[in-house]
Each structure stands twice: as structure tokens, then as C-alpha cells.
Symmetry: C2
Subunit: 257 residues, 2 copies
DNA sequence: TAGAAAATCAAACAATCGTTTGAATCAATC
DNA sequence: GATTGATTCAAACGATTGTTTGATTTTCTA
């Protein structure tokens, strides 16, 4: 590589904005990102917007400024690559969720706002990871949402396998704080909430709204708190809502008649 | 439901639920489904499980028992085919939603349960179409959910165009029934609810739970009512939840500290 | 510094993609 | 019953897919 081509490469990296993937001149002291990491980052970014089927290996290797064969050399196959992209995020999330749930149950739940606390335990790790640039930063939430909705069978089976244990733990925790809610009702509402949060976090305008909230925060903890203050009551009210109220039924019956 | 051969066909139609695409014997008097409709039905079924990028024209024409070239002959292109599959469902849904909203506003909303009534107005047309086999039957809800989550740019832009007007009308209706909720808060919660309902309805276990509820119903209206009694209070409670309660904030602050 | 291992490369692989072609077949009209 | 238009068909189009190859370069080790 001589000097003019290096210049051209640097320009292209500026245009592409995200992956600072491209090579730096020999005199530059900045640490060069490895080929594997450049591929992982480019894959993650493309998966977020285009999904598994919509992302080709050539699009990945082009964005990562890497040879096409590098994917199969370093990761084996397209599926193995995407599995690594997804698990490195999801596993970290679920580990922190379970750790926080352990701590919460050891300390004992608030008698009144226990449901809000469990909800917070579900969301605080996601918010923390979304602030950590090493875990994808703001794109972390979009990755979660897209993965949850991706139609590719490979993605769906991978998620089911990775979420099963964590979901069971949280369902049990909610059940203890919502004794009046039947197991069937709880299952449905919980599933509804998990689905919906994933979908909402992935949606553009919700995330824009959240980043608007963040501006006024002074610290990261205050930041997360504002988010929870916004979301937890909303979700807790939904979970706590009484089922089959006579007056409500009457108001609705007037519509279907 | 009379002679044995008809019985067998009825059974299969129950199992396959959707595309009766396959050929019938020449002596059968049943009207043969046209090539165009067989393609549309097969496309819808495949889109539900595999999305736009994951569905090939060859998979469609194989399931529809139709020549590969028939798609381009009858619909022009893959995108035009999918656009027709999506719009024939979504447009019918939004028309009925707006018609019901007109009727509700003309009659005047319930002073206490107005929010539940608007929510019901959002869901009753979806439930009615989900019961109408001519509009896709039970798969109609899955189609909505999958379309909402599909990553293909073509699908996303098509949905944005088709939903815009209806969403604006309903947001205005909610705003009148939730005067205490700021426009920003309403936007976020409403978007959250629409996203989540679409995601939940598309999820397998929620639909299974709903069909379990249906068994005990005697009529279709009673059927829809049970669904609403289940869902409307849940969503209305979420929309009505008070924002930024001091005690709630305190309970959450204990976690982030 | 010589040699071995790891990594990158251009090029091609077979398979599949959406689309097109032109002949064969069907259905309806005169 | 012949003719015309609509439809279906097998076959192939060029482009793109994931993957592999074998030579070349880079990196590390002895």
C-alpha cells in the first residue's frame, strides 16, 4: 500500500461513519481494530436495519473493508457469524438480569412497588448496556428488538434457546408479586410486555423520545432512573389491571351489540 | 359435510387452514380457485412465517401449484405481489377502524371508559377480520404482526404509507379522552401499544391463549367481547397510568443507587 | 534472519435469486 | 370449427447468494 491509496481509504472510513474499521497509516498510534471485530461490528449494524435474510456477506465485508473470504475463515459460516453477534449481546444482558434479580430477592421486594422493582430489574441491565459503547451503545436496544422480530428460523430458534432460562426466573418472580393474577393471565401479560418492549425499543421514534429524556439528566444513574420512572409505572399498571370488571364489561358490550 | 370425499377435503382444509391450492378431481363440482388467488394465498402464508426476504418466488409457486412465470405474468414483480397481499388486508382493516371510530364519536364516548372504547374500536375490526375466512381468518393477525416487524425496506415504507392517516385519527381520539397526558407521553404510549399489540398478536403462544378463550363463547359477538374484556382493561390501565409519582420514584431510586 | 503458522487475497465454485422468453395450451368469439 | 386472445409451460437469462480454493502476504517463532 502506497500513500495515495491510504488517503482514499481514510476518506471512505469517514463517509461510512460507523466502523472505523479501515486501516490507519503506519505512523498512527491508534490501535487497529482486528478483522474479526470489524466483521462483527459491520454485521451487527447491518442486521439491525436489514435482518438476517436481508444482509449478505458481501455487504458485510464491504462495510468492514475486509476480504469476502474472511467471514468463512474467521467464523466458519454466515450463521455462526450471526450467532456470535447475537449471543455476545444477549448473554451479557441475561447474566446481568439474573444477577440483579438475585440481589433484589435477597434484599426483599418492596411491599407496594415490588412489580415496578422487578420491571426495573428487567430494564436496568438493558439500559446500562445501551450506554456502554463496548456493548453496542445505543444500537444495543435496536439489536434486541430486531432479533426478537426477525423471521429467519435460525434467529428464532437461537433466541428461544438463549432466553428460556431467564424468562422462567422472571415469571416466577412476577407470580409472587402478583398473587391475584392467574398463571394463564400472568403468562399472557408478561409475554405481551416482553414482546412489546422489544418492539418499542427497536422503533425509531420511541428511541428518539428516550434520548430526548436523557438530555436533562446529570448522571448515568439519574438517566436510567428517568427512563424507569417513565416506563415502570406504565407497565406495572398494565400487569396489575384487574381482570373482568363488571362495569368495564358493560361499557364494552355496548360496542359489540 | 355429507359424502366421504367432501369430508376428506374438509378435513384437509381444516389442517392446512389456508391454501386449498392443490388440484381437485375433474368430477368435483367445487369452484376451482384461480391462479391469482392461489398465488396470493400461498404468498400470504409464506410471508407470515418467513418474511419478505425469506420468501422466494419458487417457494410461492411450488406451494400454490403454479408455474414460476405466473407471478410475473399476473402481478408484474415480487414487490407488486407482496404489496397486493399486504394492502388487501391492511386497507380493509383501516377502513373498518375509521368507520367504527366515526360511529363512536358520533354517539359520544363513555365518560368513564372512553379509553377502553377507543381501544375496542382499534381491535374489534381486527378481531372481526380474523374471524372472516375471506380475510385470512386466524392468520390475519399473524400477517399484521409480521408485516409490522419485517425488516425489508419495501415492506416498511408500504406500511408507513398505509397506516399514517388512521394512526393520526386515533391519536387525536385518545388525546381527547386523556387530557392529563401530554402529547409527548401520549405519542410514546400509543406507539408502544400499537407496536406491542402487533408483536403480541403475531406471537404463537398469545394466539393459542386467545383461541383457548374462544372455546367457551357461544356467539361471535360474545367471542370478541371476551377478548376485549381481557385486553382493553390491560391496555387502558397502561395508558391511564399516572406519570412521575414521588413514591414510585423513591422505590425505583433505591435500585439505581 | 530463516522458517512456520496465520491471515489475506483474487478468483471461481455451485446454488439460488427474480425475471424473461417463446412455444404450447386453454378459453372464448366469430 | 377456425381464429384470436389469455394463460400456462419448460427453459434459460443474468445477477446474487454462501462457500471454497490455492496462491500470496503478513505475522510470529525459533
Amino acid at each position: 500500500m502506497s500513500s495515495p491509496p491510504v488517503f482514499a481509504l481514510d476518506l471512505e472510513s469517514l463517509i461510512r461513519a460507523k466502523s472505523i474499521a479501515t486501516a490507519v497509516s503506519a505512523s498512527d498510534s491508534r490501535p487497529k481494530i482486528s478483522t474479526k471485530d470489524r466483521i462483527l461490528n459491520a454485521t451487527e449494524a447491518l442486521f439491525i436495519t436489514r435482518g438476517f435474510d436481508g444482509t449478505s456477506l458481501r455487504a458485510i465485508t464491504t462495510d468492514a473493508a475486509v476480504n469476502l473470504a474472511a467471514v468463512n475463515y474467521h467464523f466458519g459460516s454466515k450463521e455462526e457469524l450471526f450467532a456470535l453477534v447475537l449471543t455476545r449481546r444477549i448473554d451479557a444482558l441475561n447474566e446481568q438480569r439474573l444477577r440483579r434479580l438475585d440481589a433484589l430477592e435477597a434484599k426483599g421486594l418492596d411491599s407496594v412497588y415490588g412489580v415496578e422493582q422487578i420491571i426495573a430489574t428487567l430494564f436496568l441491565p438493558a439500559l446500562a448496556l445501551a450506554r456502554d459503547e463496548a456493548h453496542g451503545g445505543a444500537d444495543f436496544l435496536r439489536l434486541l428488538g430486531r432479533a426478537y422480530a426477525d423471521p429467519a428460523p435460525f434467529v428464532r430458534s437461537l433466541l428461544a434457546e438463549r432466553y428460556a432460562a431467564t424468562n422462567a426466573r422472571f415469571k416466577a418472580a412476577f407470580a409472587r408479586s402478583l398473587p391475584d393474577l392467574g398463571g394463564e393471565d400472568l403468562s399472557m401479560r408478561l409475554h405481551f410486555i416482553l414482546d412489546s418492549v422489544a418492539a418499542s425499543l427497536a422503533a425509531d421514534d420511541v428511541r428518539r423520545h428516550l434520548s430526548g429524556l436523557k438530555v436533562s439528566a446529570r448522571t448515568n444513574d439519574e438517566d436510567d432512573l428517568q427512563f424507569l420512572v417513565y416506563l415502570a409505572p406504565f407497565l406495572a399498571a398494565a400487569l396489575r389491571a384487574a381482570v373482568r370488571q363488571p362495569q368495564q364489561i358493560a361499557a364494552l358490550r355496548a360496542l359489540t351489540a
